[in-house]
Symmetry: C2
Subunit: 484 residues, 2 copies
Amino acid sequence: MNLIQHLDYLFNPRSAAVIGASNIPGKWGCDILNLLLTRGQRQVYPINKNRPEVLGVKAYPGLSDVPGPVDFAVITVASEALPVAMEDCARKGVKTALVISGGFAETGAEGTKLELKLLEIARRGGIRFIGPNCAGHFNTYAGLFTAPYLPPLNQGPVSFITQSGNLGLVVLALAHEMGLGFSKYVSSGNEADLHFEDYLEYLGQDDTTKVIIGYVEGLREGRRFLNLARKITKKKPVIIMKVGSSDCGAQAARSHTAALSGSDELSDAAFRQAGVIRVDEVSDLLDVTLVMLGQPLPRGKKVAVLTVGGGLGVIAADALKKHGLELSELSPATLKKLGSVLSGRWSRGNPVDTSGDISYPCLLPLLEDKNVDAVVISGPIWTPFGFAGLMSTAPWERDYTVSPEQILQGIEAEYVRNLEVTMELMQRFQKPIVYSVWVSDEVKSRIVYQTMAQHHLIPYLTPDRAVRALARLVEYSEYLGIAK
Amino acid sequence: MNLIQHLDYLFNPRSAAVIGASNIPGKWGCDILNLLLTRGQRQVYPINKNRPEVLGVKAYPGLSDVPGPVDFAVITVASEALPVAMEDCARKGVKTALVISGGFAETGAEGTKLELKLLEIARRGGIRFIGPNCAGHFNTYAGLFTAPYLPPLNQGPVSFITQSGNLGLVVLALAHEMGLGFSKYVSSGNEADLHFEDYLEYLGQDDTTKVIIGYVEGLREGRRFLNLARKITKKKPVIIMKVGSSDCGAQAARSHTAALSGSDELSDAAFRQAGVIRVDEVSDLLDVTLVMLGQPLPRGKKVAVLTVGGGLGVIAADALKKHGLELSELSPATLKKLGSVLSGRWSRGNPVDTSGDISYPCLLPLLEDKNVDAVVISGPIWTPFGFAGLMSTAPWERDYTVSPEQILQGIEAEYVRNLEVTMELMQRFQKPIVYSVWVSDEVKSRIVYQTMAQHHLIPYLTPDRAVRALARLVEYSEYLGIAK
């Protein structure tokens, strides 16, 4: 059985056992069992010496008592009891396992010995396993969840390998707020058996995974990582937050997941040569994911900024410079076309400051200009009525014959039409259009915003964040030879 | 009349006229008039040649027809008509004005001439004015608002001077999400008369302003700015986002508010010597404001990190290094005290990784340690049930005799008690305690979160953002000679 086949048993098991099954909420053996029982379709076998039933389901005193085959076992017993549990798995012919428990290499020499013993038993039995000292995994497309305490979660194109389960939860929560959905997730723990690189190889060939993101404290197979990355990044983006760059951080990483960081092979240059997008901050992981999913790959780094107000344009211009992008010099023809659709007081240059609403007809001239590779649209705040003053006007002064909701629907229908044309233009010209605008809660419940989220076009909160993300898209496009 | 007395007429006028008053929603002359009429208490006089009433209120054909004195006039007429309007103000003895209209220095030589003419008329008449080419101002404590299209807004200790009205709206919106409230705000526009420095001087002596934030494209009186800042920063923090550092940005700023940026006096070093906290990104403006309002000034840069999970500690450790702070070396006594309250598998060092819930009793030993100047607490996500597994457990498996809401209230009461003790400890030891945790929407409606917001202790989303903000607090404390 090759690695891919093996990991298929991990992400799509037809049967699962929980060794250490419990009725007590808050215990992993209860919470994971509950997830396995209540989501997806599979045979689930609680293993518990003392109880005939756990969570209302027939339990078995030992793995050997289970009638059918077991593709996947979750082991939540204490570290001392783990070798015996793994022996049981080997005897039963279990294909894959998840070892939640800590108390291994991260605790010192004794723990390292125990971890090696566990590995030796698994190898002998042909078992591949996640962990130990981890927080579970999931595959939304199989309804498989072994990670409890998850924030709200949608199906989607992102897969995530994390060497910290807690950081994993933060990223999943932030992603939910940005409308990003997930395919597969794994908290890899100490990586005694399965390494970051194994999951990467699997996700590289996984069709539902369109972007791979990772949180890395240390890579055990740096050279293999780079070789794999070089192949995968030709097909899909790989975005990595690599920490432990400070001495303190490196030491903290060691005591966290027993990871050795700082190999020369993992320098920034090596990452770049393999096409990996390396980010420094947690929020960047998702900011960059969003732009990768929603935008076409630009053919250069010349950017037009379209804004309603000068300050937002200045911030974008500064950010372009800071992140290695360029402000396009617009052609005379473009300036002329813009002049014909804009009022007298527009900026007559790039940033295109319209001194008012962002005039939708500005977009086409900008996209048609061969000096423009991408557009950043920057508005201040997006309320249900766009930038119109209606909401600040006393209701008794409004003489509309239609209800506010009807007006909203009309505006929204126009927004949706504009959005559809915009997406069509993005594809036709293969030029990214990145939005930056603060969005009110009312807008978030509207069809137009949900359509944007569905196409991974939701706006960044500030123009500097939008530009920062766009710069990484350009970097990736340059790596692929599309941008020059 | 000195500057402060003059600006009092701007922020606390007893009477206001709107020259260019209109019934048409979306027009500044309508939206601002509406704000003046519907909020606060004052005499309001719409000026409109053709109508006896505007927005249901008696209108006057000209300023000279207004019966009482006029402290403050809003002028929204087109730029060509402005000199006449300003002459009317001078004749009427108006003290202060707000010129919304653009079409002045930002448009070129002709506009500059018009702007100088406007200034000359105002000077002659003893009028000080905001603008032209701006988006209004407000004073929440006087119920005075001349900036329409505002996001939700609360009263509070922050005052904000911005050279971009649109960027102002974004910052106000982000601030609302962070629970920050405002005292005074001004979009300063072209600053033909009143400069950034004038507002700064006023806010420096304003008692309801505890923190001053600013968005700056260019300062007209760099030396005065630094002299003022040097005095004010001894009493309250001044946090500035200065843009236009790139050539493109500088050029864009010029065409936006006619600002000349890049004076030598405004180098990073000069800002630092005046105690000004300079930030690079929009979100930093508020991240730093939050830490300034909520935290005591630390006496050094040695930081203890308290976390439930290693990855969050590693990220914090890396961020400390990156931002010039240090990871405290905990004393043997502290380690011993921590060992007595933590389970077997904690990290036995800093970051203090508890391998489980953040144990509240950890806090006191850390604060008592003289090697600790500040604490960063980093958890993953904060749901109504803390980190307990209850919510992932099937309801039919919960055998509680009390309702979930009762459980929530019990947990919440405990959180509130812990929070109160924490705030008491912060004050007693004069050591900041900065939180980082993702907060679910349910928690945001809870008393414990609202108490945190009220005391400016709401958590940062990620540990790197928390550390980044803390670093600026240490910088300020060093400037004041409190941190060594």
